[in-house]
């Protein structure tokens, strides 16, 4: 049931990136075989999309295909993988993605006309309109009366991140407590395996990108399990916005590990149906995660926890 509620299936590029991340998280070496079944289970999808994802990875020289044997890893190190992922991102670099990224980086303003975007990206009007349609589906842009489009608030600045945590502290524990909470135990189990594997592995494999993917999946899983349809919808949209516009910054490795342990403890409580406890643990987890570095401090001057009013 929870699976059917998912609003968007990952596209094949995203799935290909996920496959590569999992392969590296599991410590697969160059030349080792990738079994379709294993990755279908790990990603929570059927074998057909996994085949398409493998094909994309082969086209990017990340996997090698041997007749009647299947797919084998063709890269050996984390740095090669990072470069390969970057290449794939460029290949995937849809116009919607570029527009969103430029807005998050403050390269373009929060109100845009179609013709300004046509000029900036040197593409057709139709391409821009399609990209805006994609972004509007996730509530990232809305059309204003006339021809302008407005970006909705993003999770792209210290103050916005702070407000995002305020919102999540209100909504995420309530999503667990609302009557009818039901977690997708299959996906929860897969996610648990991924986190346990990571925690048992070398620290270097817990990168910010890997953590961001797992964090997004974990919090989306909780939101999808909520018995309250409005909390569910609002939280899923917010997590998508976070994932798309907030790059996570740099978190010390100790905290990345600690956050994953907190995820596992919340899953433990949910699986034991101790929802009150899970909601409290979620509050603690979010409070710990929101601790912000002071924005400015120096000799004799008190540090600020939020940006200065500008």
């Amino acid at each position: 049931m929870a699976g059917a509620r998912r609003t968007s299936r990952p596209n094949h590029y995203a799935l290909a990136q996920q496959v590569l991340s999992i392969a590296l998280e599991r410590g697969l070496k160059s030349g080792e075989h990738l079994a379709e079944k294993t990755f279908a289970e790990a990603c929570g999808v059927s074998r057909t999309p996994i085949r398409s994802a493998f094909k994309i990875l082969e086209e990017n020289d990340i996997l090698r295909w041997r007749q009647e044997e299947g797919y084998f890893l063709n890269i050996g190190s984390a740095s090669q993988a990072a470069k390969a992922l970057q290449r794939m991102e460029v290949a995937e670099d849809s116009l919607a993605h570029r527009i969103l990224s430029d807005r998050a980086e403050r390269r373009i303003g929060d109100v845009q006309s179609v013709s300004a975007l046509v000029r900036r990206y040197a593409v057709s009007r139709n391409s821009v309109l399609n990209a805006l349609k994609v972004l509007s589906k996730d509530g990232i842009v809305t059309q204003l009366p006339g021809r302008a489009w407005a970006f909705q608030p993003m999770v792209d600045s210290p103050n916005a991140i702070d407000e995002s945590f305020d919102f999540r502290l209100m909504a995420e524990p309530q999503a667990v407590l609302a009557p009818g909470f039901n977690i997708d135990s299959n996906r929860a189990g897969l996610l648990r395996n991924q986190m346990e594997n990571l925690l048992g592995s070398n620290e270097d494999r817990i990168t910010a990108a890997v953590f961001q993917r797992i964090d997004f999946e974990f919090h989306s899983l909780i939101a999808e399990g909520s018995g309250n349809r409005f909390l569910r919808g609002t939280l899923l949209a917010h997590h998508r916005l976070r994932n798309a516009t907030h790059k996570g910054g740099v978190i010390p490795r100790f905290r990345l590990r600690q956050a994953m342990i907190e995820h596992l403890e919340i899953l433990d409580s949910l699986e034991r149906n101790q929802l009150d406890l899970a909601a409290d643990q979620m509050t603690v987890h979010l409070r710990r995660s929101r601790i912000r570095r002071p924005e400015a401090a120096n000799r004799g001057i008190p540090p600020l926890l939020k940006g200065v009013r500008t």
Partner: protein
Amino acid sequence: MTKPPTIAFFPEASFGAALNCVGIAQKLKENGANPVFICHAGFTGIFAEYGFREYHLPQNANNNVGAIEDYWQEFINTHLPHFNLNPLDQLPAYVTPTWEAIVDTAITAEEKLAAILERIDPDAIVLDNVVMFPAIAKARCPWIRIVSCAETEIPDPNVPPYLSGLSPGDDAACKTFKRAYLQHTRPVHRRYNEFRKAHGLPTLPAGIFLETSPTLNLLLSPRSVRFDRKLPLPEDKFVFLEGCVRLESAYELPRFPASDGPLVYMSFGSLGAIDTDLIKRMIDVFATIPARFLVNVGGFLEAYRDIPDNVHLGDWFPQPSVVEQAALFIHHGGNNSFCEALFYGVPSLILPYCWDGHDNAQRAEATGLGHRIDRKDWSNEFLRHKISVLLSDVDMRHRLVEVSRQMNENSGTDKAAHKILDAVQREENLWASTANQ
């Protein structure tokens, strides 16, 4: 089984000192010690994120969020113009008011700090600050000083005055600066000495707010930028760390729409980020240079718009990991920033705005390891030219490779951790032999 020694770190409320201590604490932990942190209000959680236990000084009752924001607005309005003054003119305008604020901090923290130290009962205290807290001097354990600033903080007849930015040969200017420094800081120094006397500590000579430790003093300065002292510092009490660069999470470079060219990192420290007009002006120049720029804008991200395709802004960077990947580091001359640039063999372009930034800028120029630019006095063409020169100066690059090699041969964090543990051991032996007599 012997209990691991507890080492209490007390860094001042700035990232340079805080993260410098994190680097040493990481090594102490690897060596079986139990490092903990005493932190100023506002730094809650920063050390816990690295896995260390924290003890907190209370927030001043008047320092609620609104009051601090008002303080900052006032600070920016008052002091931003002072950052453009020369070091001599900064003495009455910026340095003296800052000493007043530092002394206030020491007075406010004293009672609670003493209670925290009583509770922790550490085997040693590591102080990374510019002022002494009586509770530390009177604690029942040795205290170790990390000299937070440039080497100029420890005076010597051959070393130019602290905060002056002068070169050693400039005797007349050094004399003038020293006289002015003592004159301007006299009232606050008198107030500080009264505070010390009230807590049973001896007074300090004019201009000095922190004595050297009788046990161990750690200085960051690598040999490539050190002064030729008239009175060499005794090696058993003073240890040069050749920088002290912490381990940070790897930094994954963002994608730039315009992705060609070398990587340049710019950060003026947490306080320097308040000068958004200067940074905006520099970003306009960066847009015309075929390089990629990472710019630390601290808490002021929302003040920026229309960012060029070759510039990426962030409110925080894991600086050592970024400097490691950079071809040029534009900074304010903060001691940690300068040492990190040298550690990774990266040229520095320094725009100092206050304190020992002036001293480090002078050393960078004098030793051929970087250039200095006056904050207010540059044209777009001049900045473009300076960046281009630093990116292509092969001789400077060769010198920096050698400096980096020397610094990497001697891990400052390792050395600091071992020296601290040795000091603790010496103290224990001394205590044991006294007890046996």
